[in-house]
Structure formats: C-alpha cells, structure tokens
Symmetry: C2
Subunit: 529 residues, 2 copies
Amino acid sequence: MALEPVLIAGEWRQAANPAGSFAAIDPSTGKTLPEAFPVSGTEDVAAAFRAAADAVVALRAVPVENIARFLEDYAARIEAGADALIERAARETGLPQSPRLRSVELPRTTNQLRQGAAAARDRSWCVATIDTRANLRSYYGPLGGPVVVFGPNNFPYAFNSVAGGDFVAAIAAGNPVIGKANTGHPGTSRLLATLAAEAARAAGLPPGMVQLLYRTPPDVGFQLVSHPSLGATGFTGSKNAGLKLKQAADAAGKPIYLEMSSTNPVFVLPGALAERSAAVAKELFDSCAMGAGQFCTRPGITVVPGGAHGEAFITELARLFAAGAPGTLLGPAGATSIAAALDELVGSGARVVAGGHAVAGDRAAFEPTLLRVPATTFLAKPHALQTEAFGTVNTVIVADDVAGMTAVAAALEGNLTGCVYSDTTGKDDAAYAQLEPVLRGKVGRLLNDKMPTGVAVSPAMNHGGPYPATGHPGFTAVGVPASLLRFAALRCYDAVRPHRLPPELADRNPTGKMWRLIDGAWSQQDIAG
Amino acid sequence: MALEPVLIAGEWRQAANPAGSFAAIDPSTGKTLPEAFPVSGTEDVAAAFRAAADAVVALRAVPVENIARFLEDYAARIEAGADALIERAARETGLPQSPRLRSVELPRTTNQLRQGAAAARDRSWCVATIDTRANLRSYYGPLGGPVVVFGPNNFPYAFNSVAGGDFVAAIAAGNPVIGKANTGHPGTSRLLATLAAEAARAAGLPPGMVQLLYRTPPDVGFQLVSHPSLGATGFTGSKNAGLKLKQAADAAGKPIYLEMSSTNPVFVLPGALAERSAAVAKELFDSCAMGAGQFCTRPGITVVPGGAHGEAFITELARLFAAGAPGTLLGPAGATSIAAALDELVGSGARVVAGGHAVAGDRAAFEPTLLRVPATTFLAKPHALQTEAFGTVNTVIVADDVAGMTAVAAALEGNLTGCVYSDTTGKDDAAYAQLEPVLRGKVGRLLNDKMPTGVAVSPAMNHGGPYPATGHPGFTAVGVPASLLRFAALRCYDAVRPHRLPPELADRNPTGKMWRLIDGAWSQQDIAG
C-alpha cells in the first residue's frame, strides 16, 4: 500500500527510506483508518532543514504584508474546507463535530491565524526600542532558522503543528515552520498542510515556509530539536516526551518551549462552600468533563476545607461524576494512561469515590472519576499525588482549615492555572490574603470564581507557568502578540547608517501606527529628523 | 588563620564546614594577598537558600519604593567608599586605578544601580497588559525564588555578583540575590557586599536580600544553579564553566542566562580599506588593547579582502600590535590560557605576525598578538579557528573577495557583536547588502564603522546574542529595563476581583506615569471606571 506523502520544500512527496508506517485509529470504534502514514527518518529531516534554510534566506526579501496575507488566506481556506476538516478530525479524535469542532475550535483557529496576520502587519510585537542619543536601535526579529512545532493530540486545529498557536506565532514572527504532526490525527494535519501550502504559494512565500512530517523514531525526533540550523522548538504534549526532547535541545543550545502538564488546582474557600457549594460543584464538574477532560487546563485537583460543608461539596461532586456520561477519549491509549495514573494516585493514598474504570467495549472511554485524599496524606507524597490523569478525573484534597489549604498550595508543582472560589460578600478575604501569595507563585494564570478551561486568545493571556507546567516561566503559548516573542531574537543596531536600518527601526514609522519605545516613551510617531 | 566571613541572612559569619580556602593574587606582582577566603560547602548553600526563601516571603509586603531607595543608597555608599574599593580592585585585578576603575567602571556601576532604581520605581518594565473586555490582566513579576549571580573576572564592579548588571536586574525585578563572587577579586566583592548589606538594612529590605559566597567546589556550584527554591541564574564567564552549569540548571528546569564567549568579528570592506586603512587599523588595535583585551566585546577576528590594500592593513596592524605595551592580565592564569588558545589557532593553520609570547617576570602579561589565516583555511576548520584568546589577540582572516568574506560570516558561531566598516561615500553598499543578512543572524549587536568594546547601558542595548555567545537569543544582560525580564515570571490575573489586583494592574495607574498596554494601545492613563 502506498504511504501518504510528506510535505517537504513545497512538494508532497514520498518519505525517503521511511522507518516504518502507522495509521490513525477512530477512538469511537477502535477501528484503524485506511490511510498509512510514513515514519520519517534522517533523510526527510535533512531535506526539510535544507528547504527551511533556503526559506530563511528567501524571506529576507519578502515583505511582512505577504506573511499577513498568507495567514488570512489560510484562515479563509480553512473555512472553505471546513466540512472535510471536521469530518476527518472527528474520525481521528472522537471529538464531537458540533459544537466542539465546528463552532468552537475551528473558529478559534481561524481567529488565531487572523490575529497573527494583524500582529505581523502591525509590527508592534517586535518591541522596537530606539535610543536616539546613543543611536542604538533594537527589536525582535526572526530566529534565522525554522521553528519545529510538535502538536498535541487534544486540539486537532487550534494547537495543530501546521495551523495552531505555535504555528501562527512562529510564522507571524517571520520564521518557517517544520510541523511534526500529532500521530493521533495525521489525516487532519495533512488536510491542513495542503491548505497551508496552497496559501503560502499564493502569497509568494518560499516553498520551505510550511513543511510537514507525521512521525519520527525517537532519535530522529532528537535530531529535529537539536539540528544546527534550527531556530527553536514549540512542543505541546506529555511531560515524559517533553522532558526527553528538552534534554536534546538543551544540549545543543537550542531554545525549546514546552507545554507539558498541569493539574490546575481549584481552591474553594470556606465562605464559598457555605454560600454556593452546589453551584461550584456543578461548575467544577462541567470544567472537568469538557472535551472528556483532555484539556491542559482541566482542573485535576480541588482543595477544600473539611467539615460539614466540605463533605457536602464532595458528596454533590461525587453525584455529578457518577452521573456523568463518559466522553470518547482521543485515542485507545487514553484509558490505559488514565488507569495507570489512577493506580499511582490510589497507591499513594487517594480513594476513589466515583467512577474508576474504563468503559467496556471498542470505544475509548473512561468513567468520570473522583478521588479524595486528606491534606496530610497529600503533603507526605505531594509528587505522586500530583500525577496527571488526562481525562475527567479530579482529586479532592481535604484540609483542616485555610492554613492546611495554604500548605497544600506550597507543595504544588508549577501549573498553568490556579483558581480560588470565595464568598461574594468578602467573608473569605482574609483567607484569600493568606492563600494567594503562595498560590500566585505556583501558577501562570490565577482566576477568581471561574474555571480555567477557557483560554482566551488575548494579549493579556498567559498560557504558561512555572516548570514543569512549561520549560520557562516568562513565556506564553497563547495570546498574540506575546506568544511571538518565543520565536524571536533580539537584534541591536549600533550606529548603523540610516538607509541600512530595517523599516521597523527607521526614523519614519513604517506603518504610521506601529508602537515603538522611543527614548523611554511609547509612541506611534516618526522620529523628528 | 581565620577565614574571611561569608554573608548569609544579613550576617557576616564564618563559613560552615568550608571545603577549603583560597586567596587572591596581585597579578602585577604575582604575590598572594593576605586574606584567606573560604570555599563554601552545602551547608552555606542551604543556609543561603533558606534566608532567600524567607526574603521572598518578606518582600511581598515591601513597597517597590524601598527597592528603589536601596539601589540608590547603595550607589551613594559605593561613591563614598570609592577609595577603598578602587585600591582593593586594582590590587586584585591589576586594572589601572585611573581612568579605568575610578572614572569609567565605578561610575558605570553606580549609573546602573540608579537606572535599576528608576526602573523599579517606574514599573513600566513589567509590561502590564490589560484586556478590559476579557477582564484579563498580566504583567511580569518576581520569580518567587532568589537569583544566583556568578560574576566574571574582568569587571570587578560593573558585572560584580553583588553590584553589577545581573545584580541590578534581579533586584530591580524584586528578587533576592545570592552572589557567587569571582574568585579573582573576593576582597572587592566583600567590600561591595558590606555596603549592599548596610543599604539593604537601611531600606528595610529582608536580611536575605543580598548574600555572598566566594567560591564553591564544582558539585556545590551545580547545587546553586539547580536548587529547588532557586528562581534563576545569571552567569558571566568562560564557556567551559558556563556549559557545565547550564547542564545542571537545564536538568532541574531552572532558567540560566549565560554570557560565555564571543570573538566579535570586524569586517572591513574593500572601500573602507582603500579609503582609511590606517585609521581603521588604529581603531581596531585600540579596541583590542583596551583592558588588556579582556572584554567580552573585544574583537578577536578581523575579516578583510586580500590584495594590496589588505596586505597594507595587516602590515600596519602588525606594527601597532608589535609596538603595543603588554597590559597586566587579570590573573596569572591569563597568560597560560592565551598561550593555549594560540596553540590551538596556530595548530589549525593561523600564523603569528606579531607578538606570540608571555611576558617574562612576575607580572601576568602577554604580548599583543596578531595572527593571520587565509579564509580557505578558516572555512576548513572554522570551529578551532574561533577559539577565544582572552587578551590582546586578533586573527585576521584574509578572503579573496566579498563573497569569501560572506562565506566566513556564514561559518561564524553566535557572537555578541559584529562590526562592518565601509566606505563613507557608499561605494561599499552592494558589498554590505551581500554581507549584512548573513552576519546579522550571527550577532546580537551589529555596528557600522565603530568598534564594539563600549557597551552603553541603554534600553536599546543588546548585550546578548545567539548561542554559544549566550544561552538564549532573546535576552540582553545589559540595558535597563530589558535586562530585568530575564529575572521575571509572567503572571496573569483572570477575572480577579479588583481589590485583589496588584497595583500595577489596577484600573488606576499606580504612578500616574507607568506605561501599560491597555486594549492594544500603550498608555499612561487610568482605566475609566
């Protein structure tokens, strides 16, 4: 059987000496889908880097307007091709066509592409900084090498290696992308890359601007993240895979941005429990169950004070979990992985109070599962009891009081998010003041009275956080234009003659609207000659 | 003999179970100075991290105004104590008291401290970003753990672990600092830390705000950069030491910013050679000889076209190098290290055309040394021929033409700086257009007709560059406020109640002047209620 082609140097071609092949699986039936995709070896990687290096050179003569047009045209092509994309992604991931894929994720993806286009055109993202007295001018520019993007299994569009947030950020910052598809949805990735390649050609971008490989053996993956001509890597996926890639990238001195794992703790303060326990339980369950719990921002830990209110909250939550319909997981490995995580949690002292088993049959599914554990037990084994179970699974940690809840916060690993629910009339303010400084240091995004599962694409978003949620606490994977800075190098021009400056640093504001930091003040003006 | 005390938790105390002791050496005489300093073991490291963790907690209640006052008061104390500082640093480093230490480096250091104070007070550095519609607000805040600073040997004040650029950046961003003194000037570091501790106490900062160790065995150094409660590390020093520390920090998921090595290539285009060969040679020699060539931005490679003009340039340069007085090196190891680097360069095909030997006697010194090598030889062994010789040493690479010069640029490793000299009337513009895009990707700061040795403390400075000049191409070690972002974490507030927001993110502008990015526009205004 012929293997599906890879996209290298603007051409769909057969993988050179593939190291094997694989197929996607429909998680709703357990059946293997017909197309066979190649596992790429070193030759494909070398060819992709050669084409990317050519693209880096060619891009020097390409106006940013073409990059913006590419992103917009690509968004339009995704909308025009939505039916095929939705059908394919639903088959490969088990995610509902509607509303999830059609009304939520696809519009989010095209919105990101258009925000990236706006950022590329606007150019304010590059933080042009000009010291007129010293005649020093600096800004963020492309890395000078391609960005390799590893997409996760849980967002076939919005985090796809050739369409998602890292892709948009890398392209908008002026870098070519080598996409490493998630092996769960290779067909969706192929459809997207087809549209991307067409849009890139139409916009006059070089053939190596967008490339796609589906899978590599581990050692070839290490080559991807450590290649001498690489700019940087963006990775979203498991901590296990992420840390191995990080080791290879670090040894080569190549930046790698990792979004790896997060238990997204939710703290419910005593007053909130007294005031609206059932409502919080409902919000929490809905947030845990969304997308069958396979969101990086799904709450995996809840921290409550014990006593009558705490017990009532857990009882209500257990009722919701027990009554919840098990969603289809993204792949057959999902249930095995959840079961292994539960073994670790239960083996460390947590107790299952709802669910706990895989759903029998061909469909990949696991019962919504609630566990509980005393804070004292958690504090004795904080590492094991933060094992991420990627599904509708939540562990309620029961503390004696707010001091105990704060001690739990102090024992948390780095997380993407942390939520605090408190009484609406201010009764919890003292407790909040005790807890917040500790929790603040553990999370990238702190929420009040709100679940973390929605990640708005906003300039003020932080989809990042302290290690091991990510690899660096200063960067966000979501939010334009901040996410672009991951894929940019700081470039300074010292006494460079005016006609040799890039337009972003010239006296004349290149768009008339670009924000630049001129002699300490942000301005959209030209510099007086 | 009693050992000099370390500074831990605000107290000068004897090192606990020191792993040994060492003394500084006066490089102008080769004589050991009288004071003995301890080599700290794990107990000192643990105690310093405990005090730093306490400081992180205490700092939550300290207004930024106190941090600003501390930095200003510290600068004033350095000025008041200048005589003792200058006498001590001159003895430990061999650097001239005047003008270098008194009129250049000390004022630069106090200027950096005052710029840090202004940045802390102004708060614009933290890039407060507010999306009023989504009610998302984010900014950069302290790391939640101390910053360990390793100072280099070549700037006893301006890059000192308890007074220099990394120190200022870490403190101004709100983090405590654990200084690891350079072992070349422990006495200078002790004097500075004494002033810093007094100023910190006077400003009401916690006792763990500034701490000082002098030296550690390598394994204890790895503990410093990988400690669980560490925020990040700033390191300036050798590539060899930096890469080992990077490995330990990377494995622990701890950010480390390294400024390691750079040959700072200077390209002299044909027209510039024809126009002002002797003047460029003079500028180049002066830049190479400044501080006995021990600057991270000292030009180590010059690239010229061959032919009559090129040969005349080399002849003039050789004359200047041969006539140059050998400056005193920072320590006795300096001459050995230069000799080893020359062996590598000569063994790889470079030829010595001036100098080449250590100066006989007790003073640490090496003759100004010029080498030459054909571009074809360089391109055959580009790695070995970029070996850094930390002194007044320069290798002239002779290319056939501009294409050959560009090929040399393409074979360069990452550098802090790169300079291009060109004809003043525009005759070199085509050559510049050919060379610049290649060189641009290899350097953090690109200069025209100017040597790189001066590093202005400006918001538009980039004292950084691609690996292995530094560990990350997106950050600068010099320049306030940009250098602060290395020591900051991105913190997002999602629907957090208004009275719980940090002042930087409240509707009301906390200073009336702080720049904030509100709904896509930079503003110093309040947000309308």
